[in-house]
């Protein structure tokens, strides 16, 4: 991002001239997206590639628990699973929890290299003052989170106040300090793919390290269509600025077949450089078990049952 653009964005308030200047409404062909995405699902994956993809998908998981009933015991159990998901399975990328569970997760994962991600900024709605939301970010980072998953103010975005979104992302990024920032667009509330594309651009311009589809609290959560639009936005942003932004689809990805289709889409849209947990994550909890079942199926040659895999 060049300095003059930043100046323009920060100085504008609510004028529509700003929008048309910086973020002209993109026109996304929804039918074309659906058709392209359907192709990703029809690739023939040979056995060796499938094994590699399952392994990679497991290493890309942000193992997540975001419930009001979470307890330190449950978070510790999740961390144990993150460290050792099952026989023959690699550790996952991160554990994603509410900010008051960060210290528990941090203690359980110390020295393992597994990241601790905290959802902050009044997750999942974001309906609070920016001051409170920034304070939560600083607190979570202080507790030991090295990744922050923030939500944008969807209401303000839909009201056309792009500059507000830019400013809040930029300020949260500043509050994160060394922690990585993932920006949740909550695509299920953004109505159109055009809006998804615009929100992606604003978030990346404002400093997001990752853009993420959903909180998991709104349906629909991640779909391949919105993920594809966001991946295209990341590609165009990279071509424009040279900065590699990561992608995290979250919610609704439950089986191995879907996860592999996402990896195919990732590779064919952004190239092999993005096939790393540093630049792509799955926000999921049940996906891990399905991947595990596939791994055990490869080992034993027998189809597996979810009954034999712990839910948490």
């Amino acid at each position: 991002m060049n300095a003059s653009t930043e100046l323009v964005l920060h100085s504008s308030t609510t004028d529509t001239a700003f929008k048309s200047l910086r973020y002209p409404a993109p026109v996304i062909d929804e039918v074309g997206v659906a058709e392209r995405v359907a192709r990703f699902r029809s690739r023939s994956i040979k056995a060796a590639s499938k094994r590699a993809a399952i392994d990679l998908a497991m290493r890309m998981i942000d193992l997540t628990t975001l419930e009001g009933k979470d307890t330190p015991g449950k978070v510790r159990q999740l961390c144990a699973k993150a460290l050792q998901p099952g026989p023959g399975a690699p550790p996952v990328a991160a554990v994603c929890v509410y900010s008051n569970m960060v210290s528990v997760a941090r203690a359980a994962l110390e020295g393992s290299g597994i990241h601790v991600a905290a959802v902050a900024t009044s997750f999942p709605s974001g309906m609070s003052s920016l001051k409170v939301r920034l304070e939560e970010v600083r607190w979570a980072v202080g507790e030991g989170a090295d990744e922050i998953d923030m939500v944008i103010s969807r209401g303000r975005f839909l009201a056309g106040e792009d500059n507000v979104i830019f400013d809040e992302v930029a300020q949260v990024k500043e509050a994160c300090g060394p922690a990585h920032l993932k920006v949740i667009l909550e695509t299920g509330e953004l109505q159109t793919l055009d809006a998804v594309r615009r929100a992606s651009e604003i978030a990346m311009d404002a400093g997001a390290d990752f853009i993420k589809t959903s909180t998991g609290k709104v349906s629909p959560a991640a779909t391949m269509d919105v993920t594809y639009v966001m991946l295209c936005a990341i590609r165009d942003f990279f071509e424009r600025t040279g900065r590699m932004v990561g992608m995290k689809p979250a919610g609704g990805i439950r089986d191995t077949k879907t996860a592999i289709a996402y990896l195919v889409m990732l590779k064919e849209t952004l190239g092999p450089a993005w096939l790393t947990p540093d630049l792509f994550r799955f926000g999921a909890s049940s996906l891990a078990n399905d991947l595990l079942m596939q791994i055990v199926k490869e080992q034993t040659k027998a189809y597996q049952s979810p009954l034999y895999f712990s839910e948490d």
């Binding site: 034993t300 040659k301 027998a302 189809y303 597996q304 049952s305 979810p306 009954l307 034999y308």
Partner: protein, 284 residues
């Protein structure tokens, strides 16, 4: 002259009629060698998909009232009776003579009626109230085992197929049934009967194909709770028991009854039931 429309018999999985994912078909020919129809040769992936459907259907079907299960089975008998001529013709195409085919369809319908009657009676017959030394009311009741793999008898006719699957579903289980080539036409047409009898999708899944190809996958599948292998050879039996041991699968090897009598068999039904015993405290 009009070209006849030959039917390709597909599979029945999760309340839908998909083609086999393998794209393999076998030709059914009548006695003078002319083509009658094509039937699917199911693959292990078709079987895997069927188990997923059966598992998904299990909570609702096992939780349905016995009365409802009986009504649905009775409805299937009604629908079968109404299409008896079609079934008799399909059985003739696969080698039964006309009289035997008609008798077989009647027997199939009667078996369904019989098991429809059993749905709300076997609990009372096989459940017990147990005398115990203490202030407890202790009772034992049968509950369905889960997902059952049924490799139906390798015989021509619809009634052997019904004899194999009706006791399984009457007891609240869901099943994946492999029909033999000899009865493949009538078995898939029977899926249409089930489909129009309000049987929830996934309760019965019907595959056609080769037993030798699919048996190892049925026996080894960790999400199949019980297995009925009809007319098993000693080798098949040993293989099934060895592979089924991994998840303590209940394996049964029933033989077909002799003759054409209508005999529902509550012992078959009880093969696929678990006994749950409850101790309920009562005042002294």
């Amino acid at each position: 002259m009009r070209q006849p429309v030959w039917k390709t018999y597909k599979l029945y999985i999760g309340g839908k009629f998909p083609r086999t994912e393998s794209g393999r078909y076998e030709a059914v020919r009548d006695s003078d060698g002319s083509l009658v129809a094509n039937v699917s040769r199911a693959s292990r992936k078709d079987f895997r998909n069927a188990v997923v459907s059966a598992r998904a259907a299990f909570p609702a079907w096992s939780g349905a009232t016995a009365y409802l299960r009986g009504q649905i089975l009775y409805r299937a008998a009604e629908m079968l009776e109404g299409r008896a001529a079609q079934f008799a013709e399909e059985l003739e195409q696969q080698g039964l003579d006309a009289a035997a085919a008609r008798r077989d369809v009647v027997r199939a319908a009667d078996l369904l009626v019989g098991y429809a009657g059993w749905t709300d009676k076997y609990q009372a017959l096989f459940g017990t109230v147990n005398p115990v030394a203490g202030p407890h009311f202790c009772f034992s009741t049968p509950e369905p085992t889960g997902v059952v793999g049924v490799l139906t008898p390798r015989r021509a006719g619809l009634s052997p197929f019904i004899e194999a699957i009706a006791p399984v579903i009457a007891g609240g289980n869901t099943c994946v049934a492999l029909a033999p080539f000899e009865a493949s036409l009538a078995a898939i047409s029977f899926a249409e009967v089930l489909h129009t009898s309000d049987l929830p999708g996934g309760v019965v899944n019907i595959l056609t194909g080769q037993r030798a190809e699919l048996l190892p996958h049925v026996a080894a599948h960790m999400d199949v709770n019980a297995l009925a292998l009809w007319d098993a050879s000693p080798d098949e039996r040993r293989q099934t028991e060895e592979m089924g041991a991994a998840n303590l699968k209940r394996c049964f090897f029933p033989q077909l009854g002799v003759g054409e009598m209508v005999e529902t068999n509550p012992a078959l039904l009880m093969n696929f039931q678990e006994i749950k015993t409850t101790w309920h405290p009562v005042g002294s």
